[in-house]
């Protein structure tokens, strides 16, 4: 019980610090949001448009930082994140509502698939570490880990999308016609194949390596030798004796990855023109869209911290030593 209270206390403190940093850091950027907003049109900006934009964003009236901070805290806790600068006059809530589901779907699913696949391969690679298959998987995962994933994304797009034409080049569903019902769902899945393949392949290496290394250290334990001596089935030892004990660190890493899902996958989203939070955050930072930056960071910090908290609790449940 004391452990749980302790964790909760840390959760609240960290969240508060995260919120404050989240307010301060974007404001350290030089420049003026109205100008940055119009910068995306490159050197075709009209000076009068900048002036009107400044009035719209309320930047013509000076507000001191403390008032802004109090407003920010109030807005955050009431769930009213204000109007986005970048998408003015669209409210931040609406921007998030249109991008979060895509990110959760794409990045969430990919993370889960990658974790399961990587961990299983890692278990097998650890178990068979002396055989060819074991070293094969090791080399394979080391290679995967060193590939820059935006490069992989562009390669997939070029080969499977453009050259072979198997998959669409952009967007989350067909933009060539309006689809409804099951056809729409199929179109969404079809469009998600390439981006999620990129994400899975890019993170697979890490899961394999983590799990393989855990396995190897667990396999040296006495109880494994005992199990072998007892003549238990190999598969049974691999999964029930070794993997079960080796998976704890992977679970922690998985929890944190799930927390980061909310922040999206920026480069994949850009390369495949996939609507998601990562891209929104990127553009928000470029245009100093404080309300949008704050809202996205709020959700990222919140979900990472929550994921940590849940993992801590789960640990207490999985590993009795922690409770002590």
């Amino acid at each position: 019980m004391k452990y749980i209270l302790n964790r909760l206390f840390f959760f609240v403190i960290t969240l508060f610090f995260a919120l404050t940093l989240n307010f301060v850091i974007p404001r350290l950027m030089p420049g003026d949001p109205a100008e940055r907003l119009l910068m995306r049109f490159g050197p075709n900006i009209d000076d009068r448009a900048i002036e009107a934009m400044r009035i719209a964003l309320g930047l013509d009236k000076e507000k001191d930082l403390f008032t802004q901070y109090v407003e920010y805290l109030k807005n955050t806790f009431t769930g009213n994140f204000g109007i986005s600068y970048l998408h003015y006059p669209v409210p931040v809530k609406q921007v998030l509502a249109s991008s979060l589901p895509w990110t959760l779907g794409l990045v969430g699913t990919s993370t889960i698939i990658s974790f399961i696949l990587g961990t299983l391969l890692g278990v097998y690679a650890g178990w068979r570490r002396d055989r060819k298959i074991g070293s094969g998987i090791l080399i394979f995962s080391l290679c995967l880990r060193s590939i820059a994933y935006f490069w992989l994304a562009m390669l997939f797009l070029y080969v499977f999308g453009y050259r072979l034409g198997w998959f669409p080049l952009a967007n989350a569903y067909s933009t060539k016609e309006n689809l409804y019902g099951i056809k729409f769902v199929l179109s969404v899945i079809y469009h998600a194949v390439l981006p999620s393949m990129t994400l899975i392949v890019a993170s697979l290496g890490n899961w394999i390596l983590t799990m393989r290394n855990n396995m190897i250290s667990v396999l040296a334990e006495d109880y494994i030798i005992l199990a072998e001596a007892k003549g238990l089935d190999e598969g049974y030892i691999m999964l029930r004796y070794a993997a079960r004990n080796a998976i704890l660190p992977s679970i922690t890493a998985f929890g944190i990855s799930l927390g980061f899902v909310v922040s999206g996958a920026l480069l994949t989203e850009i390369v495949y023109s996939y609507p998601g939070v990562g891209y929104q955050l990127y553009r928000a930072v470029l245009s100093q869209d404080f309300p949008l930056i704050q809202a996205i960071f709020f959700f990222v910090s919140l979900s990472v911290l929550l994921a940590n908290l849940v993992m801590d609790f789960l640990y207490a449940f999985l590993d009795p030593r922690v409770r002590g």
């Binding site: 950027m29 030089p30 420049g31 003026d32 940055r36 119009l38 910068m39 490159g42 050197p43 075709n44 900006i45 009209d46 000076d47 009068r48 448009a49 009107a52 934009m53 009035i55 719209a56 109007i83 986005s84 998408h87 003015y88 006059p89 669209v90 609406q94 921007v95 249109s98 991008s99 562009m154 797009l157 999308g161 453009y162 198997w166 998959f167 080049l169 952009a170 967007n171 989350a172 569903y173 067909s174 933009t175 060539k176 016609e177 309006n178 689809l179 056809k183 199929l186 179109s187 899945i189 079809y190 989203e269 850009i270 390369v271 023109s273 996939y274 609507p275 891209y279 929104q280 553009r283």
Partner: protein
């Protein structure tokens, strides 16, 4: 796997005839906002396609074309303009367009300055009055013939709907009702579809039945879509477009002259207060090389007086002997004449002043940075050191505004006509804060610019522009390098009638009314 792909391919079948697909800008998923006064992908769709202006100012030809107003007339003292509205215009909900709507729109812009991006009230409009159901009179504080171009940026709003909106400057207008040629057919964050308005006042002219605008977040995917011939109109950049155009005969391109790009000097401090030194720079720079290598040939050359094609009649032939061109010998002579000698390090110096500067350029504008690198190389031969310094865009404008720079690569807003350009580029009001980035401050220039806004006589305009040209040529406030390209890639597979270098009837911009004027010229291929 193959079966699955086949099924999925069938699901994404190809489009309908007489449907135009275009990319407005690479700005990511759409947000549902059809307020024509806010820039951004869907705001641009609203401006021109759904909402319209009283008159249309064609930047390319300089024409003012009557639009929702069938005619307009200046009063003899140039202090009033009377607009006659067309009588057959209806809003897409069936209500007629009347003078009430026009007055309401201008009043809304007055009450909410955030909406006044065309700058009509700041430009001196004092009153907008309804004379009868179809006539509106606009009164000016003082003579300003330029105001007509600002009025050409005012999108008329329906009073019966917008008067219920509490704050139009925070209104996303999700279900737009306009007078325009197109209605919103469907909206999603990945694609916006417009369909032709059957009751449009000029419906005979509109041959494009549907416009499909998919969202793109990255250049890669938009460029590949161009390469696959999926887009009829793309206003995006595309490296080595000429190779693609060779492979695919349908794909064509045209880089219209956009805003001019300059090497600006900080005129407020040493050593660039010296005109001889500025002239030396003008002769030292090889702009052809900048265009060919820096801009990979995708920019149009500029003349020293920055007068675009279409306005050649304003160029004064007698002043052509003052036009500078790339000429190393003259440049060297001018550097000497300004009193600069090469020091031990090979860099030109005079007393304490060394010709060694940071050349500012916005970070991430890769083509511009390439141009800066070339400039730096070209000038090194003369003994001038330019250190290319990419800075964050916000900081870039801030440094210019605070006069905290020596030389900077930047642009000037051309505006709808060459007259606007000279006003933007040379008016002391715009020194350091607007397009007059080097800070050219001169009484005679300001007088001429003020006079320019008080006349409607072409002869008088000509003589003013002639004197301004002379000032530019004698003083070199900045060195023009090239026109930044307006990227325009189009396909003749589904439509013909596109503007091109040979038939430049419109500047193919996606931002304002130009795009509807362009679409009205398109014919579906049978």
């Amino acid at each position: 796997m193959n079966v699955l792909i086949a099924v999925l391919l069938m699901v994404s079948a190809i489009s309908v005839a007489s449907e135009l697909s275009m990319v407005i800008a690479v700005t990511g998923p759409f947000q549902r906002n059809f307020n024509p006064y806010f820039a951004g992908a869907t705001g641009y769709i609203a401006a021109g396609f759904i909402y319209e202006t009283l008159i249309y100012s064609n930047t390319k030809t300089g024409e003012l074309i009557p639009w929702l107003a069938s005619e307009y007339e200046w009063s003899p003292d140039l202090k009033e303009i009377t607009f006659k509205l067309r009588k057959n215009v209806t809003w897409s909900d069936g209500m007629p367009l009347t003078a009430e709507d026009v007055v309401f729109t201008f009043e809304t812009l007055r009450k909410f300055p955030a909406l006044d991006s065309p700058g009509v009230w700041k430009g001196g409009v004092t009153n907008v009055q309804k004379l009868d159901e179809y006539t509106v009179k606009i009164t000016l504080e003082k003579v300003n013939t330029f105001i007509i171009y600002s009025i050409a940026g005012v999108y008329i709003l329906p009073k019966h709907l917008w008067e219920k909106v509490e704050d139009p400057s925070k209104f996303t207008n999700e279900n737009p009702v306009g007078t325009g040629a197109y209605l919103l057919d469907s909206f999603s964050d990945q694609v916006v579809v417009l369909k032709k308005n059957p009751n449009y006042w000029n419906a005979d002219k509109v041959k494009v039945e549907k416009i499909r605008i998919p969202a793109f977040s990255g250049n890669e995917s938009a460029q590949l879509a161009v390469a696959r011939g999926e887009l009829d109109w793309a206003g995006i950049n595309y490296p080595q477009i000429e190779r693609l155009a060779q492979q695919n005969k349908d794909i064509k391109y045209w880089f219209a002259e956009g805003n001019p790009v300059f090497l600006f000097f900080n005129l407020s401090k040493k050593p660039f207060d010296d005109v001889v030194l500025r002239k030396a720079f003008a002769h030292a720079i090889d702009t052809d090389q900048l265009v060919k290598i820096g801009m990979t040939g995708y920019a149009a050359p500029v003349n020293p007086v920055v007068i675009k094609s279409g306005y050649e009649y304003l160029i004064v032939e007698d002043l052509k002997n003052l036009w500078w061109k790339h000429d190393p010998k003259t440049a060297e002579r001018l550097f000497q004449q300004a009193g600069f000698k090469k020091g031990k390090d090979g860099i030109l110096a005079k007393d304490e002043t060394k010709l060694s500067f940071d050349l500012l350029v916005p970070a991430g504008w890769t083509d511009w940075i390439a141009v800066c690198e070339l400039l730096s190389q070209q000038l090194r031969d003369y003994g001038v050191e330019l250190k290319v310094t990419p800075v964050d865009f916000g900081q870039y404008l801030q440094k210019i505004r605070n006069k905290d720079f020596d030389v900077v690569l930047s642009w000037a807003n051309y505006g709808p006509t060459v007259y606007h350009f000279y006003d933007n580029f040379m008016n002391s009001n715009n020194a350091f804060v607007g397009s007059n980035r080097g800070g050219w401050i001169d009484e005679r220039t300001d007088e001429l610019l003020a006079k320019m806004k008080q006349t409607s006589s072409l002869d008088e305009l000509k003589s003013i522009i002639a004197e301004l040209q002379k000032i530019v040529l004698e003083n070199v406030p900045a060195v023009p390098l090239y026109y930044n390209p307006v990227w325009f890639i189009y396909s003749t597979k589904n439509f013909t009638g596109w503007p091109s270098e040979k038939n430049p009837y419109v500047e193919p911009r996606i931002t304002g009314m130009d795009k509807i004027y362009l679409v009205m010229h398109l014919e579906p291929v049978k």
